[in-house]
Amino acid sequence: MALDALLQPVVLFFLLGAGAAFARSDLAIPEAVAKGISLYLMMSIGLRGGGEVAETGLTHDMLLAGGAGLALSFLLPLPAFWLLRTAGKLDRTNAAAVAAHYGSVSVVTFATGSELLRQAGMAPAGYMVGVLALMETPAIITGLLLARAKANDNLASRGGMLHETFLNGSVILLLGSFLIGMIDGKEGLVAVAPVFDVPFRGMLCIFLLDMGLIAARRLLDRRALTLRTAALALVLPLLNGTLGVVLGVELGLDAGSAAALGILAGSASYIAVPAVMRLALPAADPGLYLGMSLAVTFPFNLTIGIAYYGWLSAHLLPILAP
């Protein structure tokens, strides 16, 4: 599916945005529109996932995948932290902040991955949306523990950091939409499908155009990225993603869901985690963690990572599945 995936409109629009930014064009999506589409994507993903779960009911696989997701989000920051400290030569605070990003997930990488997997006949199960929601925040806790962040820090203690972490708008919207999807079921959602289902892929194109612009502009202003950290921003998704796929296959998930677990593990947050880190670990450099997750890892996953996780899952399944 590799080359095929690269030629999908979603990916091409990402490349168009990146190209425009590299050419230093003034092309820009209004911030309010981009924010609006990102909220739309979360509502849509949540509703569709919830609608599917309403059909299948609670299954064994679902619990396994949820547990695996939680464990990955809590634990993936640990090896990442070690790599960032040793190979990346980062100080404790920066290493911890970056590690938290890689334990958490990218909603748009998941959304794009699901579409590409669906295209390839490997649609992940609906409950993977729940796993996505579960994986957003645990890594933040691990990251803060790794940083040994003091609770009496001047701003974080005042800024309601825990709120930022657990009541983050995107997490609430995703979980809430998932719940609404479960309540109303697929038939209950028919009336809203013309907004939340049918146009999903087209909306993703517009959003990825914007992501291309933002990622490339960040890469151009990469004062915080060194060769070492940029390389780690390629290594970490590969390692984490492989781990995710293997774990998914071992747990007996279907090929699509195992690939999706790989995508989640391999992706890095650039929405929820940076907002918390700015407040909780202000000494960590946003240029570094956004540069790594947004400007290197995200494009890598979009163009190569997703295809690799899908390929890996399809090939491991016959060998490893229990």
């Binding site: 701003l155 005042r158 800024g159 309601g160 929405i271 956004l290």
Partner: protein, 104 residues
């Protein structure tokens, strides 16, 4: 002729996630009233930015409060040690207001 009083105008440019903390610090000191203004972009010692950040983590907001000398000084003292580490900019200037007692 309307009587006019000189007060201090405090402006802090800070990353959006920090604003709620700044509002609380101001409130602690006794500065309860403020206005928030949007920004588009800029450049400083930590590089260029544009307000198109998905996460809003590095989008900046201007906090504006008009207050008396003492409160302004207390606020500056409180914020000064954080300016460098949190990539903020603090500006203080003189401003004349009517109804001086509201801006103590």
């Amino acid at each position: 002729m309307t009587s006019i009083n000189r007060r201090r105008r405090i402006e802090v440019l800070a990353d959006e996630p920090l604003i709620s903390a700044i509002v609380r610090i101001a409130a602690d000191i006794g500065i309860q009233h403020y206005t928030l203004l949007p920004t588009l972009g800029g450049a400083g010692s930590h590089g260029r930015w544009r307000d198109d950040q998905l996460s809003g983590a590095t989008a900046k907001v201007m906090f504006l409060a008009v207050t008396g000398d003492d409160h302004a000084q207390a606020f500056a003292d409180r914020l000064a040690p954080l300016l460098e580490s949190h990539h903020m900019m603090l500006m203080l200037s003189d401003v004349d207001v009517v109804r001086g007692s509201r801006f103590a």
